[in-house]
Symmetry: C2
Amino acid sequence: MRQSQLFTKTRKEAPKDEVSKNAQLLIRAGFVHKEMAGVYSFLPLGLRVMNRISNIIREEMNLLGAQEVLLTVLQDKNIWVTAGKWDDKVVDNWFKTKLKNETEVGLGYSHEAELTNLLKDYVRSWRDLPLYIYQIQTKFRNESRAKSGIMRGREFLMKDMYSFSRTQEEHASFYEKAKAAYFNVYKRVGIGEQTYITSSSGGSFSKFSDEFQTVTDAGEDVIYVCEKCRQAINDEIFKEVSACPLCDNKDLMKKKAVEVGNIFNLGVNFSEPLDLSFADETSVKKSVIMGCYGIGIGRLMGTVVDVFADEKGIIWPKEIAPFDVHLTPIFDKEGKVKPAADALYADLVSKGISVLYDDRDIRPGEKFADSDLIGIPLRVIMSEKTMAENILEAIDRTTGEVKRVPVSDIERIIK
Amino acid sequence: MRQSQLFTKTRKEAPKDEVSKNAQLLIRAGFVHKEMAGVYSFLPLGLRVMNRISNIIREEMNLLGAQEVLLTVLQDKNIWVTAGKWDDKVVDNWFKTKLKNETEVGLGYSHEAELTNLLKDYVRSWRDLPLYIYQIQTKFRNESRAKSGIMRGREFLMKDMYSFSRTQEEHASFYEKAKAAYFNVYKRVGIGEQTYITSSSGGSFSKFSDEFQTVTDAGEDVIYVCEKCRQAINDEIFKEVSACPLCDNKDLMKKKAVEVGNIFNLGVNFSEPLDLSFADETSVKKSVIMGCYGIGIGRLMGTVVDVFADEKGIIWPKEIAPFDVHLTPIFDKEGKVKPAADALYADLVSKGISVLYDDRDIRPGEKFADSDLIGIPLRVIMSEKTMAENILEAIDRTTGEVKRVPVSDIERIIK
């Protein structure tokens, strides 16, 4: 894409009410726009990153044999009443609204009840199970404080998967596979090394659960890491146990972290009240055993920003960068560089490389500052000087290292 | 995908309260699930069709030079008050809800005001324009009656594009280009021949507008078609003019139709109250001239069902079918067909063909009835008999025509 066509521009300052570092950078670089506290629009650069993260997650969920659906935001009150989760005293972050005929409806903060009810149309016998179903959809949570930028939103994109199993063993086996798939996601988006599976209490649905926590100074959570097992426990559990749940090691490292995913055992908490059951091989009726598996996609994006950003701006891992390469030529007065850069841009695009091409007629310093802020991991510079030598300069955003690359080699370097 | 893994199953009957033909078929075939009147979940087959339609639209919008964003559902009351559209007397289908601190917010029924306000951060001078920005996002409209299946939803996926121009001429030129892009969309989803541009009154935003109407007996609108110009006028306009607006032909054909898209001139209705302006070449401040361009994606899907379905079920046009081919082998008692069908399935998938493979051990008649209902345009049958002859049977869902195809030719036939 030609940067002159991109409607967003970088900004020197974020809005004054924006205290979160990741949101400040994402707003300044033009990835998101703050509509209100906890509610962000995704602009072209931000949407590209969201889509790349979503597709990685989608691939990993599909590999688990999960099927994608798109459930609704508007939620039938009756279903949630039956599940025992409609009352604001039980679930304190519902948004609710009314149809014209005064019927109350909720905005989905999660989708266990809706999906459990839906499956009653399709699940009868043990032959219909197990099932793994997910969606990538917008959630609504009426947070009383929403001050962590895109990390704790009132409206946010989430991947939520639900498992439906016949036995505890079947459930446990999938639960472990899902854990592994989650680690693949974190690896692929670039934060595998910083991310720990963390035992925690189970929130509103079950006694215990597993969180995935990414270590970063910007984190609001505290975890205690066993480096031997790459396992952590959260603050709450630490108060009770203060040892690694795997190896009993008591020499745990206290670290600040951000939760980037969680998985819960739901048991029969939803299937029993909503009567999602199946006939087993001996025709005995049993309740389906459920699990749920969430990743907040905006939160993951914000975490990546927090983990890698430096004083100049964002640094995207290659797999989720908005573009493969940022082409930032230095135009000359004679007008020789422009057509050569145009040609290089066209050539790279024709080879299936995604390029943000800074074709604007502005000072090089301004281009480079913008490029540092936007954070595409590889920058390519073309100038009178490089043209004279028939090379290009390829600059690594993380290290600042400059490679002098023969023009014919640039495709290889980018890939 | 193996049909034995697909969690949906076909149903003999749709819910009794579902009066719309398209929704009845889509529910029976397992494409959608009705959550409440006007609110439908999209199941794996339905989501595949939605994604294919969305991608066609996306490609056509990108060709217009439009940039994709994802705006928010939650809407800031202040912005809509300023735009003069917050009051329920002005816009009668708002859903509204409240933050914990009692601040009222709306659920986006449309996004003119939010985007106009957002662009104030980025538009200063004539150099920043024109801009074309779109999203594919869920809209919420509090319809008092929502009885047309997925055609008039309370919650529905929509592509909405907005144009921001400097002059009437610039606006008019893009408006014509957008019309052409819309026709490309209808052609590509398979209803080009049935679809007419239709002059109509402008709804809540402007005096006149253009609708795209698709002729079908299931339509709730009436249009008057000039076959010479392939132009139509709607009922309202007909009462005033009763002649083709292009050639003055008075011999118009009255037809039932469904609106599958509309485009409006917004003028300065939003940019003036919200103060989205630019400095022109002579530094004179001017309001931006806007247009909006909508396609309801669920509605388009429902229309395609209405136009092509027959007494046996749905018939998808090739470009938006959930799968390229439905492989429905007839298994034999000796178990020879199953491994051959497994191998053919694997081979087709490896060639990038999307296949729904009915690997279930059920009667052939049941398989074929399901296949007719689901409506994948090409069915391939393998049986003891076809194996003996080293052929496959390829059946056209529309015509029922059976082709005997050498196994080595099947890839070519599918493509």
